[in-house]
Subunit: 253 residues, 2 copies
DNA sequence: GGATTTATCGTCACCTTGACAATAACTCGG
DNA sequence: CCGAGTTATTGTCAAGGTGACGATAAATCC
């Protein structure tokens, strides 16, 4: 009699389920210096030693997917807590993506304000922000199928900005309309008319909430500080929030 | 010395990755009799014996996710080939969704024309179409976390109709504007003005293509038959197609 | 043949958007 | 302190899309 905690998976005439290593990867995006940045680590072990890769790792027994994604992020950047909006992107594999064998990976998308990355201290890898454009241009090559995942992540991010308030996830708690616009411009890779953007952002009910405070010290006229309105703020981790309706469409050509 | 084909996953100081059974589930949707239907099987084995569930099963060694989803669909319905648009929905678990232990499941979404289901012949389960509304109303209870998955699938389907041409995936190769409208009405659960829908559907460049043929025999004036335009047709399985721009938004209240 | 049914074309008021003018309110360099 | 420069914000206007709904076309049903 073998000892098998999963005997229950083998009722009459059913084959035992195959078991796969399951990984989580995180496409962490942020915006600063007017450009969209992605968090990448330099692999110090084979395979793809020396190559840049998405932060990630294997799901541990007893972990859920989001838990594992948050843990990997924390381990490889030194942040104490997930600093923005984390959502599942999609699953890849298990075939043909890891030379060591079949691995299923569940990719996640993090939209966060710029947060400091402790590349020192993490034992295994250097983490740093890289311009997303350099990856797409082929200037930077990623390990595994991470370029494909990044491509999907960028498309998801672009479309999220259209119909959800998640652009604000790139900003801090309080931000100006111009800062929010800079996010849209960086993610979409286009320029937006400041006046029309201002009208749409402030005119959409349930999107922005005026804090009553203003910026000071910057060049030019002070700007009003906004925060995400309560209706648009993510409720305790769960549901991606309601809709920007009608959407704020990115220019198509 | 143990025999372990995945030794490569254990470089210095890294723990061996946990391995999970990986399942695929399929939320297959179709529209007929003016209502949105979902394909469900009656479970003949524990757990949840006798309960309705999404068709699905474990990923076999050497399979990819979509492959496995297509195979399960074929096994449990008798169809020879995936009859519509199949895409990944998202992954659930691995914790707390199967009483036998941790199982990761990758849910898929199938949007298909009504196809006949061979409930006889499949050895393990009865498959049949059920009104999606009955599940949401609580009249039908599903096994595992399948109600949650169904909820996510319906939301995805609703939003896909807004900005993608995939509503046509519910229709056959050729269809009338009214048939397409019936799809939208069933999925969204709303009535749409036939005249405005007609204007939008036929007026959107790259969406519909007039076949030149007409319906005959039905009550009322004959309708023109359309097909999905080349630009909107899915190219050889891969990319979900371009955008319905501006979108065809569902009425929000 | 007239009633009914369904498809399709038009009209009109309203709203949103893109382009862009005009001010407002600050910093900066002298 | 002053004008120049910079950024924020408020408007204006025309074009295009949408919702509501009238009118007509072309079949089936009795």
């Amino acid at each position: 009699m073998t000892i098998n905690p999963y005997d229950g998976f083998m009722p009459e005439s059913h084959p035992a389920p195959a078991r796969f290593p399951v990984a989580v990867d995180v496409v962490a995006l942020t915006v600063f210096d007017g450009a969209l940045k992605i968090l990448l680590i330099t692999r110090l072990i084979e395979p793809f030693r020396g190559r840049l890769a998405l932060p990630g790792g294997f799901v541990l027994p007893g972990e859920d997917l989001v838990t594992a994604a948050g843990r990997e992020l924390a381990e490889e950047t030194g942040v104490g807590q997930v600093p923005g909006h984390l959502e599942q992107l999609g699953s890849y594999g298990p075939r043909g993506r890891d030379p060591r064998g079949d691995v299923l990976t569940v990719a996640h998308l993090l939209l966060a304000p710029n947060f400091p990355v402790l590349s020192a201290g993490s034992d295994a890898e250097h983490a740093a922000w890289y311009p997303a454009g350099q990856v797409l241009d082929g200037e930077l090559q990623l390990a595994f199928d991470h370029e494909r995942i990044l491509g999907d992540a960028l498309e998801r991010a672009k479309s999220k900005l259209e119909y959800s308030p998640l652009g604000a996830a790139f900003c801090g708690d309080e931000f100006t309309v111009a800062q929010l616009r800079a996010v849209y411009e960086a993610v979409w890779g286009t320029r937006l008319d400041p006046r029309n953007f201002h009208r749409k952002a402030t005119g959409t009910p349930g999107f922005l909430e005026d804090t009553g405070r203003m910026t000071t010290g910057d060049a030019g006229r002070p700007a009003a500080l906004f925060r995400l309105a309560g209706a648009a703020r993510p409720a305790a981790g769960q549901p991606a929030r309601a809709v920007l309706n009608p959407p704020l469409m990115r220019p198509r050509d």
